[in-house]
Symmetry: C2
Subunit: 303 residues, 2 copies
């Protein structure tokens, strides 16, 4: 293995972005194409945003790569509780919004952060937001995540699953955003082989993504639905926009630090609706979904 | 005039809410009805939310009244830089989203805040968000606002118009939300007649609202439009949602302080769209609107 320096990590993440776009475009259909939009950051570095709009299965999907560097500002030092002059950050961020309400929304992020004093850490997460929660689907998703976690750390799933429940939560709705997943941050090691292991974990997550989501697309894209399911999807997408704009740390940090707005807000749904005071019957499919979202679930051990 | 105590102010604001609903329902059409949703706040007080959905001209309109009281929390003391134990707050908040892209979105808020140590202040604002900016319309709107301002303070318009330009600004888009209006806060007096004058200003703004907006509805609701204008409207509504969820102080304070979510988020559009990297031709109507929004305009003195 070559030196695990920041250039290598960034180039591997860039390759993972390409891999994901190829696999997801394949799953979407023959004509699918993730358009390429390269951008520079005036303060240092840049990125490649790749967007698919109006695909066969996906209505709007963004796969964003960035590798940026620059001077640490005082607010960054304070909020991250670090010293040092220069930072480097690279990562891949994904959000996909399907046409069919029975295909879930998905999000993934893997990232690496490094300071010129030698400090570094990995962070990331993946979570699934079905418009209609189905136990089997949530269990499948969490089983796949646990398999990747287990291969890298016996306690990873047990640590990172609850962190996703905490993170992907919408306090003003008293709901989770979806069925959760895993979330981790500030993972760093004390020697090179620990760093390689953490990097390997983030890459394996990146490679798991298209496998899991292609299956969820294939399994659900041709399920019949009516206006009722479409309307519910649009309302759930409104919640997704609320979470990202009000709480998501990456989104808010990006918007408040003069990040590239179009790449940051790529995560927003192609269309979202807000209807006053919607409260579905508790025994309807929509009401049952809300029940799942209003509690924390141990998906792997539910009957 | 009876004592200008908090109960009187609240009852007058409540009456202004009713007046606005009657006048706007009249302008919308025979079948328009603002439904009444009363709610209590567990910590003290409550409110009345009035909602019109799927009217003839208005797609979604909310007129919210609230009068709440309770103990000041430490974060409130710090953020407001005040002492005291108990607070009382009452106000009327309005956002209206029309069907026709040529009818502008409008927002208004008038509010009164009081601490048990005798401190009080008035705040409020009104701003217009046309999907397509037209100079004549913006000039009419600002002329009406200036007339009310002038009746109460020779310097009001000159002070409050720039405050609206600053407040209703979307930094991550480098755009104003619309053509602005007026914004004021922390207005208080040193004697009863000054308090009456400030209260009178807020009431006059409340009474101006239906006059101005009924005219804007009537003038524009039957203008023909195509998919192109509708799509642009939905994108501009996305910006509106971004402003409210990312920056608006009232929205964020409400969401973070366990306010009544459905009443707070009444302001969100019935439908909003996000399309990647939309950049209209600069000489198109959409591009010209963006040019207006990307600069500060002295609407009353433009040719």
């Amino acid at each position: 293995m070559p030196d695990l320096d920041k250039e290598f990590i960034a180039s591997r993440y860039r390759a993972i972005q390409d891999h994901i776009c190829i696999k997801i475009a394949e799953a979407d259909g023959e004509c699918a194409n993730f358009e390429i939009d390269e951008w520079d950051r005036p303060e240092g570095g840049g990125g490649v945003s790749r967007i698919l709009q109006n695909g066969r299965i996906l209505e709007k999907a963004g796969v964003n790569f960035s590798a940026v560097s620059g001077s640490l500002t005082e607010p960054m030092r304070e909020s991250l509780k670090i010293d040092g002059d220069q930072f480097f950050a690279t990562g891949v961020s994904i959000v996909m919004h399907p046409h069919n309400p029975y295909v879930p929304i998905i999000h993934m992020n893997i990232r690496y952060f490094e300071i010129d004093d030698g400090t570094y850490w990995f962070g990331g997460g993946i979570d699934l937001t079905p418009h209609y929660v189905h136990l089997d689907q949530a269990r499948y998703f969490h089983t796949e995540l646990k398999t990747v976690c287990d291969a890298h750390g016996a306690d990873y799933y047990a640590r990172f699953k609850p962190q996703a429940d905490t993170y992907f939560y919408i306090p003003h709705r008293a709901e989770t955003r979806g069925v959760g997943g895993i979330f981790y941050d500030h993972l760093s090691g004390t020697n090179e082989s620990e760093k390689e292991a953490l990097f390997g974990f983030s890459c394996d997550l990146g490679l798991l993504f298209p496998k899991v989501y292609a299956k969820l697309m294939n399994d659900n894209f041709d399920k019949p639905y009516s206006n009722r399911e479409k309307e519910w999807q649009l309302i759930r997408r409104g919640r997704y926009a609320e979470f990202n704009l009000v709480y998501d740390r990456g989104t808010r940090f990006g918007l408040h630090s003069n990040g590239r707005t179009e790449s940051i807000l790529m995560s927003l749904p192609p269309q979202a609706n807000w209807v006053y005071n919607v409260e579905p019957e508790s025994d309807s499919p929509e009401g049952q979904t809300l029940q799942w979202l209003r509690q924390t679930n141990d998906w792997l051990n539910l009957q």
